[in-house]
Amino acid sequence: MKRYRYLLQKIGWSAFTILFVLVLNFFIFRVLPGDPVKAGTHDPRFKKENQEAMRVRFGLDKPVINCFETLNPIKVGDCWINPFDTQFFIYLRNLIQGDLGISYHTNGPVSDILTVRLWNTVLLIGAGQILSIIVGIVFGLFAAWKARTAIDYSALITGLVAWSLPTFWLGIILLFWGSRHGFPIGGRITPGISSYPLSYQIGDIARHMILPTLTYTIVYMGEYLLIMRSSLMDVLSEDYILTAKAKGLSNFQILKDHALKNAMLPIVTIIAINLGFTVAGAIQIERVFSWPGLGGAVYEALERRDYPLLQGVFLLIAVSVVIANLIADLMYSYLDPRVQVE
């Protein structure tokens, strides 16, 4: 019973956060300076009536929301208009229909661009996260188990250094080295091999993934290592570990059956919180390795001032992170029987 309330509370909380993100995403692009239409078209030959036509096309001719014509500069408008005929409502309605707007650059729906890109990023982040979690946890485990030995100190220093590396710089250095040692210089797949057998294509993608994934793994491994180490150190000094030892269990059994699950609890939370940072890493890595994912989309949207695309990517990223956090909370409640309503 209590557990259901906990779950409901968490789900409600996530829904609220997503709503907050939706509203934030809408207003940020309207409050901040920079007319998207003008910014998207620096061409002086661009005529006034074409600008107007563009405004209509992108829905920017309508009032932002009841009482406000525009928010930058703030222009008070009529409060007694049909709320369904405001930019805000249309934005929400379109979102529900899966419509994230139209890209200034390609003139196609943003959602189409993002669907393709999303999977590329999921592939990259997924591989990188899984590897960094495994490597970080294994190293952290050994560091804690062999506390105050050379193994521990070298793992600790490695973790701190890895944590301090700027993701994009490590990517650049690996790319510099890799491009001179037969690794592809970027992208997801060698162009023009679509007629080759599927296994060859998969192998080609895998080859393209090695360096970005390695970058990912090194950077994020550091944090997992440090957290796993300190978490396991805490757990291993608990009384119940002494009980387990007194029962005659071997060190291996104690680690496996008594320490790991408990030490993993903080890791689960960190993995979810990290997903936000992970996305930051994706933006950098995809820029360095020209990987056609969401992060790459952010960079391209920035270069082309493609605001609808930027808005769409931000929304997708933020909502994914919120949902990932929710999943982590649910996992936590599954792992830890003590979890109750706060």
Binding site: W13, F16, T17, F20, V21, I28, F29, L32, G34, A144, A147, R148, L160, V161, S164, P166, W169, I172, I173, F176, S179, M233, L236, S237, E238, D239, Y240, I241, L242, T243, A244, K245, A246, K247, G248, L249, S250, N251, Q253, L255, D257, K261, N262, G276, F277, V279, A280, I283, Q284, R287, V298, L302, Y307, Q311, F314, I317, A318, V321, D336, R338
Partner: protein, 644 residues
């Protein structure tokens, strides 16, 4: 009635920052980090005099200067515009540090205020603020920063503000929980009681105690801000008028440093970022270790090997065959870098079949250490320095870890004090009992193990339906009983009960003790009972070992101890204990505290508190004197026959 010796520490509000430098100096990581940070600060401050070229002018630069490798003229080569990389690097440090420090300052102020206000005022306001903080924490930082910076004009000031305004969430959370912890401390309540205003309390009582944590957090926030700035610049969102390290990388990466092989233009700026961030990381790590020192040890660390004493002659077992455990001249030391604590010195006793021996003494007298030494469960710093623990034909003190694992629980099991934490919170109680059975009786069918677990739980008065519950679903008394059931699960010959009733209320205590006593009679267990409680000892025990400052004060049968105590410490202990037959007697307590084990007195360890101490007691440690009927006393008075 138990003997209360817990020291009541005065709650003096002292900021942990005072007297901080001394331990910090010894923290190698922190010092290295600080030196690295100072060096880069020096570079940034003296940039104009250190840089060989002025990066703002392009006088005398021709197209031949582009991407020149390192040379005597340009130590770190030249960049895509033919400029000196070293000079750019030196000036670039200013941008990183300025953005880092100012953005972090904004974050810390916002996070600090939100955290303190939420923690201090509580209620709805706290709820609202923390909900907001949690929401902001979930929304990914960098994409939001990118979006905002992209929409506003890319200037250093904007970047500082955006990074600063979005980086406060962790600070707010940390400060809030620290404020909550400090708020209910005595001195804050006292200040409030004498009418101090909220502002006064926050500034003078709460802030000083939140500050150290804030400093550690600030260092993390600074390094994140620096990383964020370099990422923004690398993405082309930096201030176009100032060349930061990220921007240098952006230009080099975009303008062919990769293909021309100009590694210096790529490596040098990045190393700058790594240098600063690593210096902050090390400094932060060091500070945290100093401000929040944790015992860097745990239960799985290998202990110090037993010091082999002279070969024990097992055949020459001086007493009858009924001796289960024969502890001879056992000494245990705790050794660390600074000092040696002689926790147990030269203790001997024998445990016979079915015997219940009481081990009494104040806290810190080495009772638990002695028990842990028997089980070979001493912490990593603990070491058996002499003596032997004979169990059957084996000396437990010298067994290997694997051999000892076989004896634990099957031969000797232990009931820990405070079963609250002695049970794993994420596994069911039944599971934890079954685990021991499976370990020591491998091959037992699942159903049999299950039946045995239920039988054991029933034995201690817990019904079968609680088998699959977690420890947090048990009451304190139930947990202690479950612990007893667990201790009995492998039919041990010896059970050590280490203050099994300390944290429980009187009714439950009585139940547990009754249970232990009945189980002893039913199962023929030999029990070592560690306790403060002389009443329990009188009622249950066969013999008593009184310990003081790590040594045997007196060891005798329970009758002898109560009717003819010879050691002044035993006598004083008994005076502190109510006797129902002499209700008119006044209870007295022993003034002072047991000695610190790192700084033991030269002579008799009880001498400083002994009412009848004389000169010899302060200079010479008394030997163990065996009086008649296995009555052992370590006191000079016994030798001199000046028994009172």
């Amino acid at each position: 009635m138990s003997i209360q010796t817990a020291e009541i520490k005065p709650t003096v509000p002292s900021s942990p920052l005072t007297g901080f430098w001394k331990p910090f100096r010894k923290n190698r990581m922190g010092v290295v980090g600080l030196l690295m940070l100072v060096s880069i600060l020096v570079v940034a401050v003296f940039a104009p005099s250190l840089a060989p070229y002025n990066p703002k002018t392009s006088k005398g630069i021709s197209s031949r200067d582009i991407y020149n490798p390192p040379s005597a003229l340009h130590w770190f080569g030249t960049d895509d515009a033919g400029k000196d990389v070293l000079s750019n690097f030196i000036y670039g440090s200013r941008v990183s540090l300025i953005v880092g420090f100012f953005a972090a300052f904004i974050s810390i102020v916002i996070g600090g205020v939100i955290g303190i206000v939420a923690g201090f005022y509580g209620g709805r306001l706290e709820n609202l603020l923390m909900r907001f903080t949690d929401t902001m924490l979930v929304i990914p930082d960098l994409p939001l920063i990118v979006v905002i910076v992209a929409l506003t004009k890319p200037s250093l000031l904007n970047i500082i503000f955006v990074i600063g305004l979005l980086g406060w969430t962790t600070t707010a959370r940390i400060v809030r929980s620290q404020t909550l912890a400090v708020k209910s401390r005595k001195f804050v309540l006292r200040a409030r009681a004498i009418g101090a205003g909220n502002m006064h309390i926050i500034l003078h009582h709460i802030l000083p105690l939140v500050l150290p944590l804030l400093v550690v957090n600030a260092i993390l926030v600074i390094s994140l801000a620096i990383l964020n700035e370099s990422t923004l610049s690398f993405l082309g969102l930096g201030d176009p008028t100032t060349a930061s390290w990220g921007q240098m990388l952006n230009f080099a990466f975009d303008r062919g440093a990769m293909s021309t092989g100009a590694w210096w233009a790529l490596a040098v700026p990045g190393l700058g970022i790594v240098w600063v961030v690593l210096s902050l990381t090390l400094l932060g790590h060091g500070l945290e270790q100093v401000l929040n020192p944790r015992l860097e040890s745990h239960h799985l660390m290998p202990g110090r090997p037993t010091v082999q004493s002279e070969v024990v002659d097992l055949s020459n077992n001086r007493s009858d065959a009924l001796v289960l455990l024969d502890v001879r001249n056992l000494s245990v030391h705790y050794v660390n870098d600074k000092q040696v604590a002689k926790a147990v010195h030269n203790v001997s006793f024998q445990l016979h079949e079915g015997e219940l021996i009481g081990l009494v003494g104040e806290s810190g007298c080495g009772k638990t250490t002695l028990m842990m030494a028997l089980m070979r469960l001493l912490p990593a710093a603990g070491q058996i320095t002499s003596g032997s623990v004979l169990y059957g034909l084996q000396d437990l003190a010298t067994l290997s870890e694997e051999e000892m694992a076989e004896i634990r629980w099957k031969g000797i099991s232990i009931i820990f004090q405070g079963a609250m934490n002695a049970l794993n919170p994420v596994r069911t109680v039944g599971d934890q009992i079954a685990e021991a059975i499976i370990k020591h009786m491998p091959g037992m069918p699942h159903g049999v193990v299950n039946a045995r677990v239920i039988e054991l739980l029933n034995l201690v008065g817990i019904t079968a339906e609680h088998k699959d519950h977690y420890p947090h679903q048990y009451s304190g008394g139930m947990r202690q009983r479950a612990m007893i059931a667990m201790a009995l699960s492998c039919n041990p010959q010896v059970v050590i009960a280490d203050e099994p009733t300390t944290a429980l209320d009187v009714m439950i205590q009585a139940q547990i003790l009754e249970l232990l006593d009945s189980l002893r009679k039913k199962l023929g267990l030999a029990i070592i009972f560690v306790t403060h409680d002389l009443g329990v000892v009188a009622e249950m025990c066969d013999s008593v070992l009184v310990m003081y400052g790590g040594v045997t004060a007196e060891y005798a049968s329970v009758d002898t101890i109560y009717n003819n105590p010879q050691h002044p410490y035993t006598q004083e202990l008994l005076k502190a204990f109510p006797d129902l037959t002499k209700p008119e007697k006044r209870l007295t307590s022993i003034p002072g505290y047991p000695p610190k084990l790192e700084a033991l007195p030269g002579g008799c360890r009880f001498a400083p508190r002994c009412p009848v101490a004389f000169e010899r007691c302060t200079t010479e440690m008394p030997k163990l004197h065996e009086l008649n009927h296995n009555h052992i006393v370590s006191c000079h008075l016994v030798e001199n026959n000046r028994v009172r």
